[in-house]
């Protein structure tokens, strides 16, 4: 399993950098990973709103939320999400939120 | 010499028939498989565009008309025409088809010789100038089939190694046996062609030979004809060791694999067979497959969701 150094700590990730151990996630991880993902500076309140939303949904249902629902519940449209997370909702936002890669025909 | 030919010919024919039959029976006796049909399925009503009975709502309540004759003709057609080769590799086809026609015609020729000889024993006179119409007909039929066999066979056997070496893909997938086959078959057809052109233009010797076979009297023949006959007998014995059975198995594959769209209806004989097969034990060693279980048990009893 590949390891990834984020903020001085080592994490187990998959081949594409998705965190494998959900429970190891911390806000520092997300902040540290943001730099790797090419998001400049500190994560803003809007970033955290989305990350927290995703994590809460995941805690409740065991999967990432539908993008449509994510947009509706957070009030961000898809464009806005791409502004916040240039790699997009799945490869960007969910990754920072510590979720593993989406699977199945999605 | 004559005796040798008679014995060898009988052995050769019995051998090829037995080995081919064994191979075909073995093919057919393999258990029914999971459906793996591929469209167009020619017995289907909408075979032109490849449609199936699944195009109708509630297909199981509808009739499923099957045209078996159409399928049979369709599958046989390519034994004589090889359309995909014509479309996709014209040069190859140009030699491959004659090469195959050589097989078909040389065997047809010999079988016809048998009938001709039988008719001769019964009193028919087979010759160009025969007074009997049937005798005339037989004469020309034999001349045509024999002639085509020798010419196409020789042509094909000479051309095949050339295309095989000239085409990058074919060359890479060739085996030494391919080239041996071409050479051997060239000798078989070539000897026949020579004997016909230079020694026996009426192909009369073959009738003498077959009359000898039927009456079990060793025939008197020219050495070159004898050479061809011996080679032909060896050819018959050799054929079952090549992939030549594909002449028949390709049709079986069409009917029993590619076009096998028989649904497993409740209470059918097929369902019974399948249920039996599902009872067999499997020995796969992957972690997700339980040890010593049957198909049914493996599918039903394990891989269940975790208890919450």
């Amino acid at each position: 399993m590949p390891q990834l150094e984020v903020g001085g700590k080592s994490y187990e990730v998959d081949e594409d950098g998705f965190l494998q151990e959900l429970e190891k996630w911390t806000r520092d991880f997300a902040q540290g990973y943001a730099t790797i993902e090419g998001i400049e500076g500190e994560l803003t309140e809007e970033h955290w709103k989305l990350i927290d939303y995703i994590r809460e949904y995941y805690a409740q249902f065991g999967i990432a939320p539908m993008i449509r629902k994510m947009c509706k519940d957070t009030g961000f449209d898809l464009k806005k999400i791409y502004v916040l997370f240039p790699s997009g909702p799945a490869k960007g936002a969910c990754k920072l939120a510590g979720l593993s890669k989406p699977t199945g025909c999605v | 010499m004559g005796t040798l030919i008679v014995v060898l010919t009988y052995i050769a024919y019995v051998f090829i028939v037995v080995v081919y039959s064994v191979k075909i029976v073995a093919w057919l006796r393999m258990p029914p498989h999971i459906r793996w049909d591929l469209y167009p399925v020619i017995h289907e009503e909408h075979y032109r565009y490849g449609g199936s009975y699944y195009e109708q709502p509630e297909w199981w309540t509808k009739p499923r008309p099957r045209n078996t004759w159409r399928s049979l003709l369709y599958s046989l057609k390519d034994n004589f025409y090889m359309g995909e080769y014509y479309e996709r590799n014209r040069l190859y086809w140009l030699f491959l088809l004659p090469w195959h026609l050589g097989f078909i015609f040389i065997i047809t020729f010999h079988v016809l010789c048998f009938f001709a000889a039988a008719a001769m024993v019964a009193g028919l006179d087979i010759a160009a100038g025969s007074a009997q119409l049937a005798g005339k007909g037989f004469y020309y039929l034999l001349l045509i089939t024999g002639g085509i066999a020798f010419v196409t066979g020789t042509f094909g056997s000479m051309g095949m190694p050339i295309v095989r070496l000239a085409d990058r893909g074919l060359r890479n997938f060739s085996m030494p046996m391919n080239y041996f086959n071409y050479l051997f078959f060239l000798v078989v057809y070539g000897s026949g062609l020579l004997a016909w052109l230079f020694l026996d233009p009426t192909l009369d010797e073959y009738r003498t030979y077959w009359v000898g076979l039927i009456t079990l009297t060793p025939p008197e023949l020219h050495p070159v004809t004898i050479l061809h006959i011996v080679l032909f007998d060896l050819f018959l014995i050799y054929l079952p060791f090549t992939r030549s059975t594909h002449y028949i198995t390709r049709i079986l594959a069409y009917f029993f694999i590619r076009w096998d769209d028989e649904p497993n209806l409740r209470g059918s004989a097929l369902e019974k067979r399948i249920l039996g097969l599902l009872q067999q034990k499997i020995s796969w060693e992957g972690k997700h497959i339980p040890k010593g279980k049957s198909w049914v048990e493996a599918a039903i009893e394990s891989g269940l969701p975790e208890k919450k």
Binding site: M66, G104 | P31, I34, Y49, R243, N264, E285, H288
Partner: protein, 534 residues
């Protein structure tokens, strides 16, 4: 002159059998002939150490090299033991006859090569010939399973000396074929090289437990464990359906209750659960149509009852049987009269055709495609449609599983011809279609550089077909729609159109069939298709 790759090169230690050169790939029409980014990512040194990349530098399986010679030996022995099982009636009655036929009777004429989109798109790389895998496989069988005499092997050119590297390459190679079976269609001898790809995958999976993660561990295993390969539990399903109902209400102006676990319904609709998450408008459209047509239907919330997928059809007979049986059980417990499969190609072939000889007795509940039902609804006039609402160029992608593999060709066309004035066919289409490039699990295989390969090689022929179909309006001014009635194909189109920047360059969008039907419904105030979700 291209370098010829001989089978013997698969046994060479180290190095790559083939180096892919994008300049050799078949050309796409401009502006797609010039790609800004390197088409295929190279892997890091660290990744190359962990995973075998010695076939073509691409990773789908990514076997880890053995640490010791003993480990290597054990690996080879276990594989060979599995190989033997492929030829046993008990262990492989399921495909014994077609497998034996292909192994025995292929004459290696190479006629099938040019039918293969992967081979042709790649610029005719020998390793991707449909005949290459079976040839390598045949040699291993001849030498190690049949144990033919060395002299005979020489004559037949079937001698091979096996090492771990060869098997690692064989495993990868089995995942360079989309199982589209176009090669099998042109074979006059009735041979099926695609089947050999699948049988190789089976030995690796059923014997060694080796398969791409997305297909096995996160795929069929996860489906059997939680209910769906997406990880969607019944609770998550409920949440998603509630959201879907809200969306429908917003678009339609009235609420429709989505029936779940309705006992005794006429139809159990088994839909691909991936759609619920990624393309909810497809489910919405089904709901709207079935409701408007007054059909008595239901979804199921039982394990495997709400996810139509059956990945086993690509790599594993046992996993296949498990899912097929669960789906039938879900239908049986609801007491429905029949099962109808939503827009998903492999689920169609798996659930309707292949499962036919796996489920028996009272589990053998009639199963059908939803397309004929949709056709009946559209043609009957039960819903009011206005084709002028779909007045944009539309082309149809045929999922291999629906056309070549089960003969459902015309219903979808008759629908499109009725509701899309600018419908045009691709060439070729119907049973001679080309795979989207995402078949046999490729569309869901998302790790390392495999997606790059799938977009630039296995999907290339399809990309070309799509661009050709729209050549009358190539620019971005005209919005265009590729109708792909299959979740897997849609996944591939999403990735591929994005990879080539086809929205920015040409405004090409993709989606299912039912979306077009609902888009034409006069009941809707707003257009149903929302192009901004490209």
């Amino acid at each position: 002159m291209k370098k010829t790759v001989h089978v013997a090169e698969f046994t060479r230690l180290g190095g790559q059998v083939t180096e892919l050169d994008p300049a050799e790939f078949i050309a796409l029409p401009p502006p797609y002939d010039k790609m800004e980014k390197p088409p295929i990512r190279t892997l890091t040194d660290d990744q190359r150490k962990r995973m075998d990349t010695t076939l073509d530098g691409i990773v789908a399986v990514g076997l880890q090299p053995p640490a010791t010679p003993e480990e290597e030996k054990a690996f080879i022995e276990k594989f060979l033991a599995g190989l033997e099982k492929l030829f046993s009636v008990e262990d492989n009655w399921t495909f014994l006859q077609p497998l034996m036929h292909t192994l025995e009777y292929c004459v290696k004429c190479q006629i099938c090569s040019d039918a293969c989109p992967v081979y042709v798109s790649s610029g005719r790389q020998d390793i991707y010939r449909p005949t290459m895998r079976p040839e390598l496989f045949r040699r291993i069988v001849s030498t190690y399973v049949k144990k033919e005499h060395p002299l005979l092997r020489k004559i037949k050119g079937s001698d091979i000396e096996l090492n771990w590297q060869t098997l690692a390459r064989l495993a990868e190679l089995a995942y360079r074929c989309t199982l589209c079976r176009r090669c099998a269609q042109v074979c006059l001898l009735g041979c099926d090289n695609a089947l050999v790809s699948r049988e190789i995958r089976k030995v690796f999976s059923q014997q060694m437990g080796i398969a791409p993660k997305e297909i096995h561990e996160k795929g069929s295993v996860q489906q059997l464990r939680v209910g769906s390969s997406t990880g969607m539990t019944p609770a998550a399903l409920k949440d998603i359906l509630e959201f879907t109902e809200e969306e429908i209400e917003a678009k339609l102006g009235r609420k429709i209750k989505i029936p779940v676990d309705k006992k005794g319904a006429e139809i159990l609709l088994i839909h691909n659960a991936g759609e619920f998450i990624a393309w909810p408008e497809n489910l919405e459209a089904f709901v709207i149509i079935l409701d408007a047509a007054g059909v008595d239907w239901t979804l199921s919330s039982e394990i495997a009852g709400y996810d139509s997928i059956n990945y086993g059809v690509w790599y594993d007979d046992v996993q296949f049987a498990r899912v097929a049986i669960r789906q039938s059980q879900a239908a049986k417990s609801l007491g429905v009269r029949k099962i109808s499969f939503g827009e998903c190609g492999h689920a169609h072939k798996a659930g309707i055709v292949i499962a036919d000889r796996v489920v028996a007795g009272d589990l053998n509940i009639p199963r059908e495609s939803s397309l004929p039902l949709l056709e009946e609804i559209v043609m009957s006039g039960r819903i009011k449609l206005d084709p002028s609402r779909n007045d944009f160029p539309v082309t149809l992608h045929d999922p291999c599983n629906m056309v070549r593999l089960m003969g459902i060709v015309e219903p979808q066309r008759r629908i499109l011809k009725k509701i899309c004035p600018q419908f045009r066919e691709m060439t070729p289409h119907g049973v001679e279609n080309y795979c989207c490039g995402g078949g046999s699990g490729f569309a869901i295989t998302q790790s390392t550089n495999f997606p790059d390969w799938r977009n630039s090689v296995s999907g290339r022929m399809k990309m070309k077909q799509v661009l050709d179909a729209f050549q009358d309006a190539p620019g971005p001014e005209v919005k265009k729609y590729v109708c792909a009635p299959c979740s897997n194909c849609k996944g591939q189109f999403r990735d591929m159109l994005d990879y080539y920047g086809a929205w920015e360059k040409s405004s090409i969008y993709y989606g299912g069939l039912v979306e077009l039907i609902v888009n034409a419904m006069v009941d809707l105030k707003q257009p149903f298709i929302q192009w901004e979700w490209h």
